[in-house]
């Protein structure tokens, strides 16, 4: 469907640009959620929205249950997810497109050992292959996978090389890809892949949370706690669409001073470990294995025990404050690039991720000229020859703004001489101005004449302005 067609169907359609970062984050989140159904979850490289999930190792005949479980999880992300279970990834993927299975909404099961036969009638478009190979086969009149499978392997290799041969093997159901092979006698573990190799530990930590939660709850159900576990990172030294070589892995072990069944302190241990773990290559997968488990004890934690200290305590405390007083009460100050004093600063939520730091001009930089340095020019706002320089009347002074400007009466000649404010008459020793500021006409515009007035009082330098409504005190420098 083209964009214009889509717009034709939905006038309010919001079109977002492709965002790799957002999509990777979403894939990682789904990967984490799918751990609830199976300990082996691999997002399919180059195909956002598709995962290989290990279904082996479960009780025989339980495939429909796994399919239902996966569908249930996936529905949180998509209204009509598709699931298929087969002996090979290629057949499973093709089967997800099976119309009857989709209609029933229960997934599709390809009987064991029938993958090649199943694939014969499948349209060629469902067989992963190079675009050029696909176009060539279609140009040759081959429409179904069976037609391709019937070609001579030598002919295929002669024309399309190893990649053609690999696709030809897939056409026979010969697919080397597996999510992760699980053995029943293996220690409890969770293995997850990342959508794209991560150069930092942040997404790894994100995946560790569901992995550890799954393991901790799995063991807790069996009345055991984790005494020792390991984290294995698969490093992406050379990662292709089809795994062909043994992966490069690095493993670190964490021995706990005492067995733990709560995920939070376990995660803290992980966080500490990852923080000290130098990465030599991006991480493509993570595996958490419980090395040692012991019976669950009833020990309580101690706030005074440093091993129980929670680095997120401050956050928790702030959360408590927010819960009591409102979501927006915890704020931090930030500067803004604006002329009007009340608009030159803002409060942002303390919990929000800090945005890109605004580069603020030293002084108003109004002369807009085509040759004005561009924003990406380092000379911007750096006091270049085009900037106006304000006399250093109040350099180093802090501007204290009133919550709202207060109306005042002013004696002037023509500069302000006396200001009547809050019942007091302030004599002005020196007034600098007027400074005419007018702007923001596209929203709630303003037009004012500012004066900075030194009074004899201890208030410092008053900031006065006059607009259509009269004279106002907006604050003072001290």
């Amino acid at each position: 469907m083209t964009l214009s067609e889509a717009r034709g169907l939905c006038a309010a359609l919001e079109i977002l640009p492709w965002d790799d970062v957002a999509i990777d984050a979403a894939i990682t989140a789904v990967t984490a959620s799918l751990v609830a159904a199976s300990p082996q979850v691999s997002p399919v490289a180059g195909a956002p929205g598709m995962w290989w999930v290990g279904a082996s190792g479960f009780a025989q005949g339980d495939e429909p249950g796994i399919a239902q479980s996966l569908l249930r999880i996936a529905r949180a992300w998509h209204p009509r997810p598709r699931v298929a279970i087969a002996g090979s990834c290629v057949a499973a993927r093709a089967a997800t497109w099976s119309a009857p299975g989709n209609r029933r909404g229960g997934g599709v099961l390809v009987p064991a050992g029938t993958d090649a036969q199943y694939l014969r009638e499948v349209p060629l478009s469902l067989l992963p292959m190079d675009v050029e190979l696909r176009e060539a086969l279609q140009a040759l009149g081959i429409r179904a996978v069976g037609g391709f499978a019937d070609l001579d392997a030598g002919d295929v290799e002669q024309r399309w090389g190893h990649e053609g041969l690999a696709a030809w093997r897939l056409a026979h159901g010969d697919d080397p890809r597996r999510p992760v092979l699980a053995r029943l006698d293996q220690p409890p573990h969770v293995e997850l892949e990342l959508a794209t190799p991560a150069a930092s530990m942040e997404p790894v930590l994100f995946l560790l949370r569901p992995a550890i939660e799954r393991l901790a709850s799995q063991l807790a159900r069996a009345g055991r706690a984790i005494a020792s576990f390991s984290i294995t990172l698969t490093l992406d030294d050379a990662r292709g669409a089809l795994p062909t070589a043994r992966a490069h892995t690095v493993t670190r072990e964490i021995r706990l001073p005492r067995p733990l069944a709560r995920a939070a302190p376990l995660l803290e241990r992980c966080r500490g470990l990852l923080g000290r773990w130098p990465l030599t290559a991006p991480v493509s997968a993570v595996r958490v294995t419980v090395l040692l488990a012991s019976p669950l004890s009833a020990d309580q934690g101690s706030l005074l025990d440093t091993s129980w200290r929670d680095p997120g305590a401050a956050d928790a405390a702030l959360e408590r404050v927010r819960a009591e007083l409102g979501a927006d009460v915890v704020v931090s100050p930030a500067a803004r690039d604006a002329y009007a004093p009340e608009r030159a600063g803002t409060w942002s939520n303390a919990g929000d991720a800090p945005g890109p730091t605004a580069e603020l001009p030293n002084r108003p930089n109004y002369p807009n000229h085509p040759n004005h340095p561009k924003d990406n020019d380092k000379r911007s706002f750096s006091g270049n020859s085009g900037d106006l320089v304000v006399p250093a009347v109040h350099s180093g002074a802090a501007l204290r703004l009133l919550a709202a400007p207060e109306r005042v009466d002013v004696d002037r000649d023509p500069e302000p001489r006396r200001v009547f404010w809050r019942g007091r008459a302030l004599t002005i020793a020196r007034a600098v101005g007027p400074e005419r500021l007018a702007g923001d006409w596209w929203q709630d515009g303003y037009a004012r004449e500012y004066w900075r007035c030194e009074s004899d009082e201890e208030l410092g330098e008053l900031v006065l302005y006059r607009d259509a409504g009269g004279w106002w005190v907006q604050g003072w420098y001290d």
């Binding site: 081959i142 002669q158 000229h369």
Partner: protein
């Protein structure tokens, strides 16, 4: 220079620093607007100081003359100099010891205002700007102090804005350094310097000014006050902010202090300035002194043409006379085979023209043009003069034009007369593929210092204005797109009106709602109210030269600008303002509605009395009907775009869009205008590099040239000339016939038969749907009929409802009448219907008492791109003149309406005649040499109206045998091949040395062999590779082809799929392509893997097994059989790869399904169906049109295996199924057949998309151009 009387006493202040919109994205007012405002404020003078630009200077000066305000020409130059920290800012008084701009030093750019005191100063200013533009990176102009010193004479300098060198130092409090910098300038300009101060209500500026005044006093320099104006009125600040946002590519919300802190940068009154500077009034008074010094005016420019190199002892007049005499002998002499023998009339005309040329001193100009044409001829580049030059016998004799003006009785005075103040306009068309050669010749001959191309100032249009303003206001890209799509109009103003919901009142200022901002509209209205719309001034005055104005300013002004409309309708005149562009009646013809026109008793009736103009809309997206909706609550554009009309920003949108109306956006290159000067061109106008390599452009548009006396020569590219040039070369090679365009038999009725049948695909000018509809009605039988045909189907005559009256009179269905007896001699040859611009002029002279000069003004207005405004200015004078001559007002108004229709582009008769010659030539070649014509048009692609497939299908229908692509025979280009039995070899269209010349003119028609270039996706270098490989001998096998060309796999696959290798294979026809592909894939792969060798023969074994004559090796080894293609698949593959199929039209495969359902073919429709019958037709959509003149009607052309079907769709039906109609390649249409004088149309009622994989989706159609 005399000044116009001003009603106000002159103010005691002159703004010496003022930016117009030509300070791109830093000025929010047009030069005319600034001048108008200056006049309102009573300024005696105003300076224009755009950033490194003089693009607005001519317009500014013209507006100054109009308003009686002296126009001081200047600019704010960017000066590049070392940072002060690098050393001294000044080294004594020697220019040579000025700081060097060594690259290793830190550099800073500063601004400096320069004003022209004298002609020399202006030349220096233009030179400095040229150097700033030409010697620096594009978009970053600057000059060095050394350059400044070399070109300082005649210039007066102001120290500039806060970004000036001196002010920036003063602002930092470095007064001593500022003094040094000022002293440097003082040395450079020999004390012609003043310190500039400003106060925009900012404390910083006041502090800086205090330092600056101290500097002035220390150096005993004058100091002046300016306001550094960037817009005319305070309320224009919003537009300036929008422009600033566009410059920084940020929305308003993110601009912060990048915007100016207030809106003080406007033209202020002397009283305001005096109040602000009451503590130092000498700075205000000093502006008058500086203004007095800057006495240069644009009228002082007197550029001259370069001297043409002449033989010793011969004057230009004599030389021209000789050339003309020689040309006349060739044209009309005894050996000229001309049907028009030379008579006394010819000599008299030539003598008359030469005398006038001599009197006006234009012989050199004609010689220059002759020389360019001579160069083209020498290089075999086909060329032909167009436009009014075709009225001249001298041009005809010099070979510049090809139409005999004496034979056609063309009016020489339309081209040149003593009354005309500007140089004649000679436009020459060249074969477009070789035009660059001619352009570079001109550069080379006259030097880049003396020659440059004219620029074209691109202004904001509706679409760009909405998109930019929406972006600036912070709307999302999608919202901006939606708004753009929904509100799309031609001009920003009309678009703004559409956004306001004033759909039917677009361009009617009086109907506008009060703007939310004070805005541009209000300004324009106010200005117009007093002065005639400010933005019209340039257009209205551009016909006047400064010299002419100098002699007779007031008279000329009154002749042109009266009446001073306020842009609103005036009931007494029937509301005929510039805004009332006529609109045709409800029409289903591209040129108007026949019934609507036929029902009139007299076509001179005002057809627009109750109509208003609607601008062109985007044809694919403008679905909404323009008829007023019954439902007053129907959502407007804003609502339909999903925006809240109450939102502040949404409310601002229309005014901001309108604020951009006509503001320059960027500079482009004119299509072909050249200017030449004897003196260095850069002393007349700044030159800058164009975006195209090896091109330079001046900063003025074509309309700026006449007022300063610059002569333009248009060197244009015309595709049809390339086509004709190629076709004639092919005919010479294939048939041994040399076709001479100058001596074609112009009465060949077989050619006219084709034209009468509208059998004109590929024929110049008459291949469009509208022309094809007219031809059978007009039934051209002589050359002049073609002249009429070319002129008739133009927006002017169409919108003037002149088409059907003319056709009816020609058919004898309507009596030839004239609205006034005085018009009969003028309109007789066009049966009482005005069709040509010359007739408009003659009508004005005969009926309104216009002088020839005034008539020429009218003529220029008719051809001017801003002609609607200009026509409006002349309207009242024309009507008044007619009334004075006793023509009743209603008749006068009708005559005016007809002439006004030309505002939408009418042709001059001579221009139509030049084009008609090409019409006939192309029709002639097509008729007699169809294979060569087809080869030429295919080898000249892209050009013309129809896609390759349509052209080939048409050629096949005309008996051209088209041979498929075969790499054994095909070249890259399409070639002509001798038929079997006639020598059998390919005749070629390329290198003549490879082609045997056929002496007999009776050689049989060659076959057309499709070239490899027709296959899509081969890449840009494939042609060269292919021909190089082919030069080693014919290809013998697929493997041979692969080895020699080394094309990539994709290209080879395309070749195989297109059937280029079919001849190498012994397979059933339907199996060849897949077998070829299988072989290609085999041949193209490199080293085989472990499995492959087992199933393959070695190359040597294959050769041993190959058959005799080098038959393909593939025959020697077993090949896996691939599925055969179906015939439909074959067609689909053809269309996918080439856009055409020789194996059958896509519709052929569907016919057996369509026929039982009553769907008629094109042939059946033409021969069996009856008028009024309900029919169903289907075909490939090859053309979709929605002309601006057809009031929303849409025209489709369907093609099937038997021909073409024309379909007409009403606006309502189109809107209902716009997407289907606009995008479906195969369409089934049910509707009513309409037959009128052999013109067959289906008036569509129902549409259905045909889904079939027969390649239709790959066919290219000509959509909405």
């Amino acid at each position: 220079m005399p000044r116009a009387q001003s009603p106000k006493p002159k103010a005691a202040y002159v703004e010496l620093h003022c930016h117009s919109a030509f300070s791109l994205l830093d000025g929010a007012a047009l030069p005319e607007t600034l001048m108008a405002r200056a006049a309102e404020l009573g300024y005696p003078a105003l300076a224009l100081t755009d950033h490194d630009d003089l693009g607005g200077a001519v317009r500014f000066a013209l507006a100054g003359l109009e308003h009686g305000v002296e126009a001081i020409i200047g600019a704010e130059i960017t000066v590049c100099h070392p940072e002060r920290s690098e050393g001294s800012a000044r080294a004594d008084s020697s220019v040579a010891s000025l700081p060097r701009n060594d690259s290793h030093l830190a550099r800073a750019d500063s601004h400096l205002v320069l004003l022209a005191e004298t002609r020399e100063g202006y030349g220096n200013l233009a030179t400095l700007i040229t150097q700033a533009r030409m010697q620096q990176a594009r978009g970053e102009p600057s000059v060095t102090l050394e350059q400044l010193a070399r070109h300082a004479r005649g210039l007066f300098a102001l120290t500039g804005c806060p970004r000036g060198w001196v002010p920036s130092l003063a602002a930092r409090g470095e007064v001593d350094a500022a003094c040094e910098a000022a002293a440097t300038l003082l040395d450079i300009f020999d004390r012609r310097v003043a310190i500039e101060c400003w106060d925009h209500g900012l404390g910083e500026e006041r502090e800086t000014a205090r330092h600056l005044i101290a500097v002035a006093r220390a150096l005993e320099l004058p100091w002046v006050v300016t306001n550094d104006a960037h817009y005319a009125r305070a309320r224009d600040r919003a537009i300036h902010d929008v422009l600033a946002c566009l410059r920084h590519e940020k929305p308003l919300d993110e601009m912060g202090t990048r915007l100016r802190p207030n809106g003080e940068w406007y033209l202020k009154s002397a009283a305001q300035m005096a109040r602000r500077w009451q503590h130092a009034p000498e700075g205000v008074r000093a502006t008058l002194d500086v203004a007095e010094r800057c006495a240069f005016r644009m009228a002082h420019l007197k550029p001259t043409l370069p001297a043409f190199p002449l033989p010793p002892g011969v004057t230009a007049d004599e030389y021209l006379e000789r050339l003309v005499a020689q040309g006349a002998e060739e044209r009309w002499g005894p050996g000229a085979e001309s049907r028009e023998p030379r008579t006394g009339r010819h000599d008299q005309q030539i003598g008359h023209e030469l005398a006038l040329i001599g009197k006006l001193g234009l012989a050199g100009y004609f010689l220059i043009v002759w020389d360019i044409v001579r160069f083209a001829r020498r290089r075999g580049i086909l060329c032909q003069g167009r436009g009014s030059a075709a009225n001249s016998a001298v041009c005809f004799c010099l070979g510049i034009t090809a139409v005999d003006p004496i034979k056609l009785e063309l009016l020489f005075e339309r081209f040149l007369s003593e009354d005309r103040t500007e140089a004649p306009d000679i436009d020459i068309d060249f074969a477009h593929e070789e035009r660059e050669e001619v352009i570079q010749y001109v550069y080379q001959k006259y030097g880049r210092e003396h020659a440059a191309m004219v620029c074209e100032q691109i202004t904001w249009r509706g679409r760009s204005a909405v998109r930019d303003v929406a972006r600036v206001l912070g709307f999302s890209v999608e919202q901006a797109d939606r708004l753009t799509t929904l509100s799309d109009r031609f001009s920003a103003r009309a678009t703004a009106d559409a956004l306001r919901g004033k759909e039917d009142d677009a361009d009617v200022p009086g109907g506008s709602s009060e703007p939310v901002l004070g805005g541009a509209r209000a300004l324009q209205e106010t200005s117009a109210g007093q002065l005639g719309c400010a933005q019209q001034c340039h257009g209205a005055l551009a016909h006047l030269r400064f010299s002419a104005l100098g002699n007779d300013t007031a008279e000329n002004r009154s002749a042109v600008v009266s009446p001073p409309h306020d842009g609103r309708r005036e009931p007494n005149t029937g509301g005929l303002t510039a805004w009332d562009r006529p609109e045709p009646k409800a029409a289903y013809e591209p040129y108007g509605n026949p019934p609507a026109q036929e029902t009139k008793l007299n076509y001179w009736e005002d057809p627009y009395a109750k109509q208003t103009h609607n601008e062109r809309r985007n044809p694919t997206t403008a679905f909404r009907s323009r008829e007023p909706t019954a439902d007053s609550r129907a959502p407007g554009i804003i609502e339909r775009a999903g925006l809240d009309p109450k939102d502040r920003r949404v409310q601002l949108l229309p005014d901001l869009v309108e604020g951009l109306h006509q503001l320059p956006r960027h500079r482009s290159i004119h299509v072909g205008g050249f200017v030449l000067t004897a003196e260095p061109l850069s002393t007349v106008v700044p030159i800058e590099p164009a975006s195209m390599q090896d091109r330079t452009v001046i900063q003025w548009e074509k309309d700026d040239l006449d007022p300063v006396g610059l002569v333009k020569i248009d060197l244009l590219g015309l595709g049809i000339l390339t086509l004709i040039q190629k076709c004639m070369a092919y005919v010479r090679r294939t048939r041994g016939v040399t076709v001479d365009l100058a001596h074609l038999d112009m009465t060949d009725q077989a050619v006219f038969d084709d034209l009468c049948r509208a059998d004109t695909i590929g024929v110049f000018q008459v291949e469009s749907r509208a022309q094809m509809n007219t031809l059978p009605r007009l039934k051209p039988r002589c050359f002049y009929d073609l002249v009429v045909e070319v002129a008739l189907i133009r927006p002017g005559p169409i919108q003037g409802d002149m088409v059907h009256p003319y056709l009816r009179r020609r058919a004898g269905l309507e009596q030839v009448t004239y609205p006034h007896p005085s018009l009969e001699p003028i309109l007789k040859r066009t049966m009482g219907v005005p069709l040509f611009q010359e007739q408009g002029m003659q009508v004005a002279v005969a009926c309104a008492g216009f002088t020839p000069g005034e008539a020429d003004v009218l003529r220029k207005a008719m051809g001017h791109k801003r002609s609607r405004e200009r026509m409006s200015a002349i309207c009242q004078k024309l009507v008044d003149g007619m009334e004075r001559n006793g023509i009743p007002k209603d008749v006068a108004m009708r005559i005016y309406n007809q002439i006004n229709a030309f505002a939408d582009y009418g042709f001059p008769e001579s221009h139509a005649a030049s084009f008609a010659l090409l019409v006939y030539a192309s029709a002639y070649l097509r008729h007699y040499y169809a294979p060569e014509f087809t080869a030429a048009i295919l080898n000249s692609q892209p050009m013309g109206f129809y896609a390759t497939g349509t052209i080939i299908e048409d050629a096949k229908r005309h008996g051209v045998r088209v041979l498929p692509i075969d790499v054994r025979h095909s070249r890259w280009d399409h070639t002509l091949q001798r038929p079997r039995g006639a020598g059998g070899s390919r005749l070629g269209t390329g290198d003549s040395t490879a082609v045997p010349r056929v002496p007999s003119p009776r050689s049989p028609a060659p076959y057309l062999r499709l070239g490899v270039r027709i296959i899509s996706g081969l890449g840009s270098k494939a042609g060269e590779i292919y021909e190089r490989a082919r030069a080693d001998g014919p290809f013998t096998s697929i493997e041979d082809f692969v080895r020699r060309t080394r094309f990539d796999k994709r290209a080879l696959r395309h070749l195989a799929t297109a059937g280029a290798f079919d001849a190498f294979l012994d397979e059933p026809d339907l199996g060849k392509r897949r077998a070829a592909l299988w072989e290609v894939l085999d041949a193209v792969r490199g080293d085989a893997g472990p499995l492959a060798p087992r199933s393959r023969l070695s190359a040597r074994q294959a050769r041993q097994l190959s058959g005799p004559k080098g038959r393909p090796s593939s025959a020697a080894k077993p090949r896996r059989s691939m599925p055969l293609m179906s015939p439909a698949e074959l067609t689909e593959a053809d269309y996918r790869m080439t856009g055409v199929s020789l194996n059958g039209h896509p519709m052929m495969h569907l016919r057996r399904l369509l026929q039982p359902n009553g769907v008629l073919s094109a042939a059946e429709l033409a021969h069996r169906a009856r008028d009024g019958e309900r029919v169903a037709v289907a075909g490939l959509v090859i053309c979709r049109q929605r002309p601006g003149t057809a009031k929303g009607f849409v025209f489709l052309t369907l093609e099937d295996e038997t021909g073409m079907v024309n379909v007409v769709i009403t606006p309502k039906r189109f809107e209902r199924q716009a997407l289907l109609i606009s995008t479906t390649p195969l369409l089934l249409v049910r509707g009513t057949l309409q037959i009128e004088q052999t013109v067959v149309n289906v008036r569509a009622e129902q549409f259905r998309a045909l889904q079939a994989e027969v390649g239709a989706e790959h066919a290219r159609s000509h959509d909405f151009h």
